[in-house]
């Protein structure tokens, strides 16, 4: 709609005003919960029951954060969500790394070394993006038992890798499809083999899609609750499960400020990633969904 001459009438100006008003209103709607969460998390409990939701804290305090991190009760134990926060990292980091590496190699093999049936194999793997995970929960629980990985962090890593590969393969495949195959032909003529072509030719140009894949997998796995609640025990829970337990623990007085602080803690890593690399985050969302 650019570069078009428009008459600057009063009506046009009013329309412009209404436009900004609507956009700001929408922004308030999206920001409200985050604002409330933040404000509440630094309010003492008495201010919460007395004052309004949006009232700024009279005497701001970080006690709720400290309590959420180290003392709050999540079910039977009262050790806060701090340990579970690190649990999440211990699960997320290996799972993201492995699924990204495997996805990159898969995407490379599927696009640059096509063979009869390779498209079919891709379609077969792609289906894993779409299934409702409820359909694999029970067999997975039993299989993890057989593997001796029940309720372990390694087991959760395995589950996230298995069901993440479909997405990472999709990302890398769609990216490598656009890389000219002649590059690979040239490298073959130059005498490079399968892994060397990947390492020297493809990987150096893959930075954008690696970022997309890492961010996507990071948010997906960090935010997971279903696998976490189904396949973990007390000491191996990810932070989402701990947060849910904390909020639903019904001993003593409800400490809403602590609840909100714990929610902020659980939300921070993905929020930071989003703020730092929003462009890639959006690209991952659209690539992971539109092209699927």
């Amino acid at each position: 709609m650019d570069n078009v001459i428009r008459r600057r009438t009063l009506g046009a100006r009013l329309a412009r005003l209404a436009l900004y008003a609507a956009l700001l209103l929408a922004a308030l709607f999206y920001l409200l919960p985050l604002a409330v969460m933040l404000i509440t998390s630094v309010k003492p409990l008495d201010e919460i029951s007395a004052g309004s939701l949006l009232a700024l804290p009279q005497s701001p305090t970080l006690v709720p954060w400290a309590k959420a991190w180290g003392e709050a009760c999540t079910g039977m134990r009262c050790e806060g969500v701090g340990g579970y926060f690190w649990n999440s990292f211990a699960i997320v980091i290996p799972a993201v790394a492995i699924s990204t590496v495997v996805g990159a190699l898969n995407g490379y093999a599927l696009t640059k070394w096509r063979f009869r049936g390779s498209e079919l194999l891709f379609g077969l793997m792609l289906f894993g993006c779409f299934i409702p995970f409820q359909v694999v929960l029970l067999p997975m629980a039993q299989t993890l038992g057989w593997l001796g990985l029940s309720s372990s962090r390694a087991g959760l890593v395995l589950v996230h890798v298995i069901f993440g590969i479909a997405f990472t393969t999709l990302f890398f495949r769609n990216f490598y499809v656009a890389v000219p195959t002649e590059l690979v032909s040239a490298a073959k003529l130059d005498g490079a083999g399968f892994f060397r072509i990947f390492w020297r030719i493809l990987l150096p140009v893959s930075a954008p899609i690696i970022v997309v894949s890492v961010i996507w997998q990071f948010t997906q796995i960090w935010n997971d609750f279903l696998f976490g609640v189904a396949f973990s025990a007390h000491d191996t829970q990810p932070v989402t499960v701990a947060l849910n337990n904390l909020v639903n623990t019904s001993t003593g007085v409800r400490e809403y400020n602590v609840d909100m602080a714990a929610a902020m803690i659980a939300a921070l890593p993905t929020l930071v990633v989003y703020v730092l690399a929003g462009k890639y985050f959006v690209r991952g969302l659209t690539a992971g969904s539109v092209k699927g």
Binding site: S185, A186, K188, L189, G193, R200, P204, V205
Partner: protein, 373 residues
């Protein structure tokens, strides 16, 4: 010794046969051009030679060694791609030396090779740039440099100039020709541009539908085409094809051309160019092939073509190109194009007296499209 020999190479994609028992041999130092319309199999043949596509049947020999089932790396060939295929993450220097590095050539030798080709192609100043920082012409040079550094037995060029603009293409064409003359390399070059084929090649292979229709020097392919397809494909503007009836007998063949609204025109066929095949065609329709430059205006005494056969036609379109003038005029059942000198003054609708050089005309069978005489 043949640098490259292809014997009965066949390639099927599913049920489709894209190469139909192609055979050819190239001498060391020869510049061979594969030319043809898109889908004729020329690129597939190129990929088969490179080892990028396994063939279905047949044999490929490079420097008298059977390479049919060797990997591309084992074949001792280098290739220049249409898109140049420069490795985007590497500098020009790394691009050129990558193939040598893969072959475990010692560093000192690699550096010497880079210096040598950079010097040859005048890209020394670009050696530390990335491909993205180069212009189209510079990328082209680097792509050639990458091939030259390896000094392989055979060079393959896959439409290397088609991504350049018109002027640069002409310059690079000359440069490739110079390089070939200087280095005496063996080159197989794919193009769909018949001017490139004419100007560069020692020999041209014209391909269509997975066959080589004709393999010969540019002069043979241009002046002595085996059929209507080759005759029409080479040359721009392309050869005129005029339906005629063959009359007379051996020693006195004539071609009768009927143009609507004109008197019938009878052109005698030079006795020196008769072939035995003509005898069977008497009384039947044959196709006369005349290139635009086989015409000349009547009064151009200086052109030395006054032995030609006189002919008069009504001009329908006049297209000056600067160097000469192209005229369109109805002749037989079609419009023909004639190339005349730039000084010719004629307006559309006027009649013009021309001469046609029947000594260079060709005749084709109207059914098989094959050459008759």
């Amino acid at each position: 010794m043949s640098a490259l020999e292809i014997q009965k190479v066949r390639k099927d994609f599913g049920n489709e046969r894209v190469l139909k028992d192609v055979s050819l041999a190239i001498e060391s130092g020869e510049f061979l051009i594969l030319v043809g319309p898109s889908g004729c199999g020329k690129s597939t043949l190129m990929n088969a030679i490179a080892g990028l596509e396994p063939v279905t049947a047949g044999e490929i020999r490079i420097a008298d060694r059977d390479v049919t089932w060797l990997t591309p790396a084992e074949r001792d060939i280098a290739m220049v791609f249409q898109s140049y295929a420069l490795y985007p993450s590497m500098t020009v220097r790394q691009n050129i030396s990558f193939g040598l590095e893969m072959r475990k050539v010692p560093r000192a030798e690699r550096e010497a090779a880079v210096e040598r080709v950079a010097d040859l192609l005048q890209i020394t100043a670009l050696l530390d740039r990335k491909p993205a920082q180069l212009s189209g012409g510079q990328r082209q040079r680097v792509a050639m440099g990458r091939a030259l550094a390896r000094e392989p037995a055979v060079y393959l060029f896959d439409e290397p100039l088609s991504n350049l603009d018109a002027k640069l293409r002409v310059d690079m064409r000359t440069e490739i020709k110079k390089l070939h003359l200087r280095l005496g390399t063996t080159i197989v070059y794919v193009t769909h541009d018949q001017i490139e084929a004419m100007t560069l090649a020692d020999r041209i292979a014209v391909m269509r539908d997975g066959h080589i229709l004709q393999l010969g020097t540019p002069d043979e392919v241009y002046n002595d085409p085996v059929d209507i397809f080759v005759a029409g494909f080479m040359g721009s503007p392309s050869m005129n094809f005029i339906a005629t009836t063959l009359e007379g007998q051996a020693g006195d063949y004539r071609l009768r051309i009927v143009t609507e609204g004109e008197d019938a025109l009878v052109l005698p066929w030079p006795a020196s160019r008769e072939t035995p095949a003509l005898a069977e065609q008497v009384g039947r329709s044959v196709i006369l092939g005349l290139r635009p430059e086989h015409f000349s205006e009547e009064d151009s005494r200086l052109s030395g073509m006054d032995e030609g056969t006189p002919l008069s036609a009504r001009v329908s379109v006049v297209e000056p190109t600067g160097a000469d003038i192209l005229l369109n005029m109805p002749l037989g059942d079609a419009e023909v194009t004639a190339r005349v000198g730039p000084k010719c003054r004629v307006a559309p609708g006027e009649r013009l007296s021309l001469r046609v050089d029947m000594g260079r005309a060709v005749l084709f069978d109207s059914e098989t499209q094959k050459r008759l005489a």
